[in-house]
Amino acid sequence: MSFVADPVTFIIDWLQRVLGGWGLSSGWVQFILFALGAILLTVGPMLLTVGLIWVERKLGGRFQDRLGPNRVGPWGVFQTIADMLKIFTKEYITPIGADKVLYNLAPILAVGAVLGVWAVIPLSSTIFGTNINVGVLYIMAVGAIGELGVILAGLGSNNKYALLGGFRAVAQLISYEVPMVLALLVPVMLSGSMGLNDIAGAQKVAYVFLVPAAALVFFIAAIAENGRAPFDLMEADSEIVAGFNIEYSGLKFGMFYVADFLHAFTSALVFSTIFLGGWQGPGAEQYPILGFIYLMIKTVIVYVFLLGVRFTLPRFRIDQMMAVNWKLLTPLAMAAILVTAIVDKLTPGGFGLVRIVALLVSNVGLLLITNWLVGAYVRAHRARRQVVSGPRTVVVAPPKPVSEAQEVNA
């Protein structure tokens, strides 16, 4: 393989030869290569976050009919670097009574959990951290560790608003994990493996065209897991000030911020890998570098769509969020599993037209039925809710007589 076609494997082979030539045993060579790959895959996303924050602020500004940052550098590209420099030098104000272990561990867990997902994503058919055969469940597991970070932040801050915010945040996160995992069952069923590289490799036709119901459920649940609008009760609520990260300042707060933005991009990446075919595209098998480019293009499209959702929709209330999760998304995910399981067994295998059309029709039918059911539920609910009272005129107090005031002054 040449350098242009498959640079990563080329470099790995070259490094193996060089290190072996220096006399290191193969175990140590493996270890050094693993460590180098891990460092690249962790430092890369952190540096990517710098660009992501700028993109988000600029595009957010455009969505909201304003300019976004445009002073620091051309089009404001150095804004994030300026912000980073500022946040690196801010003081850590630890509140008295805060539990040192919990308070300091929380931001580390939050960022580490998001970075951990990058270990299993196949950036191309040969560039990936590891193709562990429980890749999908591993993503869920590191998500669970991130939730642990959130509740530690709430518990360790010695602040009842942080505690309240932390509980609500964890209730939201654990609730939305259920439809997310259920929706992830469907691509595992269709591809026969939990390893992400296998799922990406098995998508001759992208799964979003085969099982749009599961894709939609996963998309909505991923937005909610991230804590972005319209599910951003965790971070920007006027009743509980700033949620679980009230008492954080300086880089510890910066870490929560970084985790939030990086999680959005990572969710887009996971969605592209599992439902949009990942690195699949014309010529991706022979030239793995093309696979990386295809994956990035798909991820950026999904990410911009995520930004559009964020800057357009208003926030949900907590009871509306829970209702959407347990009464809409979980039954929809279960129905999607049942429908896909039965229809896929009844149609012939492979990517023939019969199977594609049958799956697509059954999933779209499921979505239409759900839409109709939700409409019926809302209409019935609205009919049952009574209007408290009609509009009343506001009573205006008559003005005081002028003579009294003149008497007092005199």
Partner: protein
């Protein structure tokens, strides 16, 4: 497969050490002027009222329990999903039965109002 887990251990160690190192470095670079008012607990700019541990509703725990049940169910469904391409329709019907029993549980929770947030 062992080397894959080994890679994940190395990766997660670095993923957790990197923010820790960054926080430590920022701690060295930042000023440290503690004051009594600065470190007091934040409550919208006024003094705190009452202890900082609140009575929290049992509802959070109930949601956690419901989540646990569905988590275990989903995790039990994953081996079936991996083996899906190789099993017959009869096996699929059994898994469908599994999901339907738990859907019945969800419907019961819905009727009882356990899923409403007060």
């Amino acid at each position: 497969m062992l080397h894959e887990w080994f890679y994940l251990v190395i990766f997660l160690s670095i993923a957790f050490l990197l923010p820790a190192a960054a926080i430590l470095i920022a701690g060295l670079l930042s000023p440290r002027k503690t004051g009594k008012i600065k470190t007091s607990t934040y409550e919208c700019g006024i003094e705190t009222v009452g202890s900082s541990k609140i009575q929290f509703k049992a509802q959070y725990y109930l949601f956690g329990l419901i989540f646990l049940i569905f988590d275990v169910e989903t995790v039990l469904l994953f081996p079936f999903a991996v083996a899906y391409q190789k099993i017959l329709l009869f096996g699929v019907i059994e898994a469908v039965l599994f999901v339907l029993i738990l859907a019945a549980g969800l419907a019961y929770a819905w009727r009882k109002g356990a899923l409403d947030w007060h």
